[in-house]
Subunit: 256 residues, 2 copies
DNA sequence: CGTGCGCTTGATAGAAATCAATGTCAGTGG
DNA sequence: CCACTGACATTGATTTCTATCAAGCGCACG
C-alpha cells in the first residue's frame, strides 16, 4: 500500500532564482495576481510599485502579529501558511500559494493580526501599501480588483467557518483534499496528484482537529482505497467519492 | 433565580418610523457607517446615493443566497443574522446590528453567497453598489474606508474561526457573551445588561454547538452566579470572570 | 549510533451530540 | 375563558466522536 510513488507533484520548490526585480509581464501567476487585467501602461506603473521580489526561506516569517503593515505580498512562487494566535491555541487560517495576496487582515488597523510563515523557500512580490493606495487613484480598475479580492477572501473564510462549525472530521478532511486539488488545478497542475507542503500538525490546526486525528483519517481514507499517501505525497484515487463525502453524502463513518 | 428582571435592555425595537428618506446627517449610527468622516459636501453626495431607507419586518430576508448583488446595506436600526448555507447544515456568520455593513460577501462575484435575515423589525440604508463604485472615484477616502471595513470583516471572521476551531463549548459561550456586551457598549448601551435578539438555535449555529448545549451552558453559567437569564434578557453578573473564561483562564469544566 | 522530529497506532477518557420527554408561553379559536 | 397548537426552551439519559494519553516507528542528521 505504501509502495514508493512516482508522480509529478505539482510546482517544484523554487530554485531561489536570481532575478530579484522581474517584471509582472514575465510573471506566470496567471489570472490571480492583483495586476492581472491591467493595460500595458498601468502594468508598467504597477511594475514600478513592486519594490522587490523578496526571497523567504522555508520556515521563515514574512510578517508576524503585531508588526505594522508596510507591504502586502503576492506569492510569486512557493507556499505559505497564515496563523492567527488565539487564547485557546493557534488557528491556521490559510495556505496561500502562487498568486495569492497576503496581508489583507492588516489593512483595517495597519497592524498585522496574524503570522505568515513560508512552508518552503518562496518568492513574493512586495507591494508597499502606501504606494499601492496612491496607485488606486491613478489606475482605473485597480482598487475594484483589490476589494474584490478582499471579498473573495471573506468567502473563503466563510467556507472554512462552515467546515469548522458544522462538519465531522471525515467531511473536513474530504473537503480539505478536494480544495487542495482544486487549488492545484487552478494553477495548471493535477487536481488528484499533489505534494502537501504542510505538516500534519498544520493540517490539524487548519481543520480544527488534532494531529492524531489527521493521521487516522488519512489512514482510513487509504484503507478505503480513496487515496494513496506516501509521506506528504497524495493521490486522490476516487476524487468523486471524496467529493461526495465533502458534500455530505456518503454516511461519514466514525473515526474508529 | 428566575425572578422577573427589570432592566434597560439595549436599543428598543424601532417603531418603524415614517421618515424613509432621512439624511446621513441626522443618522445616529455613530462612527460605524461607511459615510462617517466625510466632509459635508461629500456627505451630501453620499446622501443622494442612499436610495432608500428600507424597512424589513422581523423574520424577513434582506437578500438571499444566489441573488445578484444590487445593493449593500447599512443597518440603521434593528438586528440581523447572516446565514451561510453549507452541505452539513447552516452556519450563522454574523449578527449585524446598527451601523454595520451587509453584503460584502457578494462584492467579489456579484452574487450573494449568504442570506440576511432580520431578527426584528429593522431599517436599513440601501447603497446601490454600482452607484457606490462610481462614488469611489469622486469622494476621496471613501474607497479607503470601504476596503478597511472589509479588512475588519476579515478579522472578525478570523476571530470566529479561532472560536470554532480551538475553543471548548464553555469558552465559546463566554466569548459570545463578552462580544455581545462589547457590541452594545460600542453603541452606548450597557455591556452587562442586554436583550438577546436571536433564538438559542441561532446562537448554537453561530457557535457551532447544538441548541441543547446552549441551554445547558446558560443554565450552568446561571448556577455559577455568572449571569442571570430571563428568556432572552441577559445580565452579566461577573463580566470579569466571564472574560477570563473567554481568555482561556479558569479551568473550563465539562458540560455535565 | 544515538537523538529528535514528524508521524502512526492503540487504549482510554471525556465533551458534546443525540435521543427523548417535558415545560413555558403567545397566539388562536372553540 | 379555556383548551389547543406550535415555536422555543429546558432537562435528563445515553451514545459517539474526537481528544488525550501513551508507546513506538522511520528517517534525517549530527
Amino acid at each position: 500500500m505504501n509502495a514508493p510513488l512516482r508522480m509529478p507533484l505539482g510546482p517544484a520548490a523554487p530554485g531561489l532564482r536570481a532575478d530579484m526585480k522581474g517584471q509582472c509581464s514575465d510573471c506566470n501567476t496567471g489570472g490571480l495576481c492583483l495586476a492581472t487585467g491591467l493595460d500595458s501602461v498601468s502594468k508598467m506603473r504597477f511594475d514600478r510599485l513592486v519594490g522587490q521580489h523578496r526571497r523567504i526561506a522555508g520556515g521563515d516569517m514574512l510578517y508576524r502579529t503585531g508588526q505594522p503593515l508596510h507591504s502586502l505580498y503576492t506569492v510569486r512562487c512557493g507556499f505559505f501558511k497564515t496563523r492567527r494566535r488565539g487564547p485557546a491555541g493557534d488557528q491556521i487560517t490559510s495556505f496561500p500559494m502562487t498568486g495569492e495576496l497576503l496581508g489583507l487582515e492588516a489593512v483595517g488597523t495597519g497592524i498585522h493580526q496574524s503570522d505568515a510563515v513560508a512552508l518552503e523557500d518562496s518568492i513574493v512580490c512586495e507591494l508597499p501599501f502606501a504606494a499601492l493606495e496612491l496607485l488606486f487613484e491613478d489606475i482605473p480598475g485597480l482598487h475594484r480588483r483589490f476589494y474584490r479580492m478582499m471579498s473573495y477572501e471573506i468567502n473563503r473564510q466563510q467556507h472554512l467557518m462552515i467546515l469548522l462549525g458544522n462538519m465531522r472530521a471525515e467531511q473536513r478532511m474530504a473537503t480539505f483534499l478536494i480544495d487542495m486539488g482544486a487549488a492545484y488545478a487552478s494553477r495548471g497542475y493535477s487536481p488528484v496528484r499533489f505534494q502537501l507542503r504542510m505538516s500534519r500538525e498544520d493540517i490539524g490546526s487548519y481543520l480544527g482537529l488534532t494531529i492524531e486525528s489527521i493521521s487516522r483519517l488519512l489512514a482510513r481514507f487509504t484503507k478505503l482505497g480513496l487515496i494513496t499517501v506516501n509521506k506528504r505525497a497524495i493521490v486522490l484515487n476516487d476524487p468523486q467519492r471524496i467529493a461526495e463525502m465533502a458534500s455530505g453524502f456518503s454516511p461519514c463513518s466514525p473515526m474508529v
